[in-house]
Point group: C2
Chain length 528, copies 2
């Protein structure tokens, strides 16, 4: 899939085949080693892939006697056009919609306001501290870009540590924040790149905020439209017939089309394809089952595996790539700082990342708890959870690297020492946070959240995880139960538990107007 | 997946996204239109895709006012490295192994000897006839290459017309021949390209034959080893655990690795990945089921859908691409022949293709019937079948175009009028055979083979098609039945029905030695 762009860097047919073979072989190795280390307390798949990538990079470097640096240059186009879409689409397809929308306000607080706070702090801190280490040569725009580059968390790595079934609230918060956060960072980064350098004032900041809101709404709308269109097409065309292959192909291609269209109109493809995934798993994937002899659950699992496989290969590929790219000797030569200055800059950035994240996780959690105060205790975020959320978002990943390359290089090449330093700093920070914080995440979570307390944090009635996977927004049983309980207090509830009530109205609307048109499983079986 | 290489032809980030969007949108359109036309008597998916491709090409040409020819240049690397492997792997994974191996001798006769006969006739005919139209400028090597280029049939298109369940013997013959034939053409083509031009004699021909045999055996061995290695890894590592995503990823990557390794050692990647697919569906895919709660059939269907989807997208992509590429104005300008000469050359080639195919289908079918004369009537190929086999292999496809580009252009560009003519001739022949012969195939088959006679041609006992999909080489029931019937006459059978007997021995070997090591479903359930 993705080796193509990477292969294009190399001249010659045979050399290309050699490199693809090596890369695929190392990928296979990653899978097997990742599996063997699955029960390991410290390592996870991402860290394994990065370490294997570093080792491969070292071997290539040694074999080519220090000359191979150009072969495996990080290609941010490859990343944004081919690797990111399947990961985010899969995320949207797999997300537990119920919990995601129940925590929607908190997630948006973290993902949007949080990124603004975090990037302001990182920008200000870098502006203030970098010159003190004797590191100059960056423009005001560069500092703003640094803020957004180091504000995008790495969801992939975190999600391999948290489990949807064990800690559903934490998972949905961290996961949801990760997706929205990725989108915000990219949006903010693009806004910074377009910024008129002469007019850096309050008006410009407001404009960026308004731009972001506009992008959020239009990107989401595009994703929703693409998802609904696919669902409608599948429902209209395939009724009574069964051709799974064509349907899966259509879903994959339509999702990809929504991503490229969003990029085409300079929207956030990440948000678009994420909502497209949510809509598809809600409507489109259920349309197939009507004509199939396989049960709903099987088809759902079926789709999930296909999309999860694409996503899994892309993720492993990215981490491997980051690992190999870190050994690219060229950029290290260009950065002309002393060892002490470099270490100073690296630690400054890591410190600023931690500070910037703490500055929004704890206040916003408190705010969220205040908003949810009348609701049940279960929605509130305990201090321990806040620490885990803070920690889980400290890792930086491929999005940071891709943005850094976009800002500080011209298609992978830079000749300016200051720019080269920023690229190497990003790589070091990504390696450090992924490896060190990644190593410590599992122990930290099991320290703060021992297994026997898990049920305290789970939402609603306990339910078999397998069953939950194929659930629509709310399950049938719960729907009946809650309807009886809440029917008489609908108005007072609207004040006390706004999210639940909105959910209730949405469900009625969904059942009455949406599902008859776009398909999906019937909650009320007599209506089918 | 594959748009990357194609996108690399274009400068600029935004233009690339535009083109990918257009291409993906047209692909979606192909899927939907292909579905709507499914019941159509004349059209099939390939012809639809080619027609839509031509229309898209025309629109692009008009929009860019005749200047866009460089954007969509056919890239044979993209084809051989990214599009062909999933198609052939899927073919190996889906092939009905029982029928494939029962007809193994006939398939190899058609696929190997047939290509030699066909390419000799086409080479000789072109050598004799082309100068009579006033078309000169080709070397001896070019003529040899023309023979192999026009000897590779297009399996994809044919298989959309024939059905595995309706006409199993025909399907397995045409399908098997298609795969072996692709491999032989590529092998022969590479042999011709390496040929020392000064020494074109009988010894060189013998060398090509020996080279082919060597390549056949080593490629097959590599595929078998890769498949067994994957099966062994999956069985050893994943026993008692269940991680479908990682397993599917490992299978896909290992299959792809076997392909690139084969290409690396200048073997036939097509054969390698085909046998890798067969081995994986025989052993590896069954290993997952042991630990899974889903039944064997579901997992098998599951895998099939994943691989079939990859293959389906790649196929549609290829035909669309061929259609768009045909409208590339540049090469048409270069070819300086008069309209009359051009039409003469096109019809000569089509005539030679038909002659070359007739020259081996009818004699080799008779020979095969003679060999199978003592076996049951079911294995014999009736004259009607021979006509269908002859006709079904007349279509030429993407392999021909890719080979023509490899021979007559230098990475897609040629300045020699004779070479340009050969490229345009290949495109015209592919379009003509796919469209015209493709249109007529469905009517021809239903004329020669009305539906009520289908069962006459089916092998063995009637069986539900769904069930057959997940069968190992021979089913459990049949195994018991045949064992009783044949136990006492084993030696006489070895003479009279060699294929069945070899099959029997293979099954015993498989059960005793192979399955315990590499996994797969138990035939004898007590032994599990």
């Amino acid at each position: 899939m993705s080796a193509s762009g990477f292969a294009m860097n190399i001249a010659g047919d045979h050399a290309q085949v050699v490199l693809i073979s090596v890369f695929v072989a190392v990928l296979c190795l990653c899978l097997v080693i990742g599996h063997l280390l699955e029960e390991n307390r410290w390592l996870n798949e991402s860290t394994t892939a990065i370490i294997i990538g570093c080792i491969t990079g070292t071997i290539i470097l040694l074999l080519s006697k220090g000359k191979s640096s150009h072969i495996l240059r990080f290609n941010e186009e490859l990343f944004f056009i081919y690797l990111l879409p399947p990961i985010i689409f899969n995320a949207g397809f797999q997300v537990k919609k119920k919990q995601f929308f129940q925590n929607f306000i908190t997630i948006m607080l973290f993902g949007v306001i949080g990124v603004f706070i975090s990037s302001s702090i990182i920008t200000a801190g870098a502006w203030w501290l970098f010159p003190r280490f004797g590191f100059t040569g960056l423009s005001a725009q560069d500092y703003l870009a640094i803020g957004t580059i180091f504000s995008s968390t790495d969801t992939v790595c975190t999600l391999q540590v948290l489990h949807q079934d064990e800690t559903p609230l934490l998972y949905s918060l961290v996961f949801g924040e990760g997706v929205v956060n990725d989108a915000t960072s990219v949006v903010l980064f693009n806004a910074v790149q377009k910024l008129d350098k002469s007019k850096l004032n309050g008006w410009a900041a407001l404009r960026v905020l308004l731009d972001s809101l506009y992008l959020f709404s239009t990107s989401t709308a595009l994703g929703v439209v693409a998802g609904l269109l696919t669902a409608y097409t599948l429902k209209t065309l395939y009724i009574g017939r069964h051709s799974t292959v064509r349907e899966i192909a259509l879903m994959v291609l339509m999702a990809y089309l929504s991503y490229t269209l969003a990029e085409l109109f300079h929207l956030s493809g990440i948000l678009t394809v994420f909502f497209c995934g949510i809509l598809m798993s809600h409507y489109a994937s259920h349309n197939v089952t009507q004509s199939s002899r396989i049960t709903t659950r099987h088809v759902q699992t079926h789709y999930m595996h296909i999309f999860a496989t694409m996503s899994f290969i892309a993720e492993t590929f990215i981490f491997l790539y980051v690992g190999i790219d870190a050994l690219d000797i060229e950029k290290w030569k260009l950065s002309k700082l002393s060892f002490r200055t470099s270490v100073g800059i690296y630690s400054t950035v890591v410190l600023l990342i931690s500070l910037g994240r703490a500055a929004f996780v704890f206040p916003l959690s408190t705010f969220s708890n205040y908003v949810h105060r009348r609701a049940d205790r279960l929605s509130s975020i305990s201090f321990k959870h806040q620490v885990i959320i803070w920690w889980a978002g400290l890792m930086r990943g491929a999005v940071s690297i891709a943005l850094a390359f976009k800002q500080f290089t011209y298609s992978g090449v830079t000749l300016d020492p200051a720019n080269a330093t920023m690229v190497t700093t990003t790589i070091i920070v990504v390696l450090f946070t992924t490896l060190v914080f990644g190593f410590l995440t599992k122990p930290l979570i099991s320290f703060l959240q021992p297994h026997h307390t898990n049920n305290n944090t789970s939402h609603g009635e306990p339910r078999s995880p397998k069953e939950d996977l194929s659930l629509p927004l709310l399950s049938l049983e719960e729907s009946a139960e809650t309807n009886i309980l809440r029917a008489k207090e609908s108005l007072s509830m609207l004040i006390e538990r706004p999210v639940y009530t909105i959910h209730n109205y949405w469900r009625k609307f969904d059942d009455t107007y949406m599902r008859p048109v776009f398909g999906g499983p019937c909650r009320d079986q007599s209506a089918c």
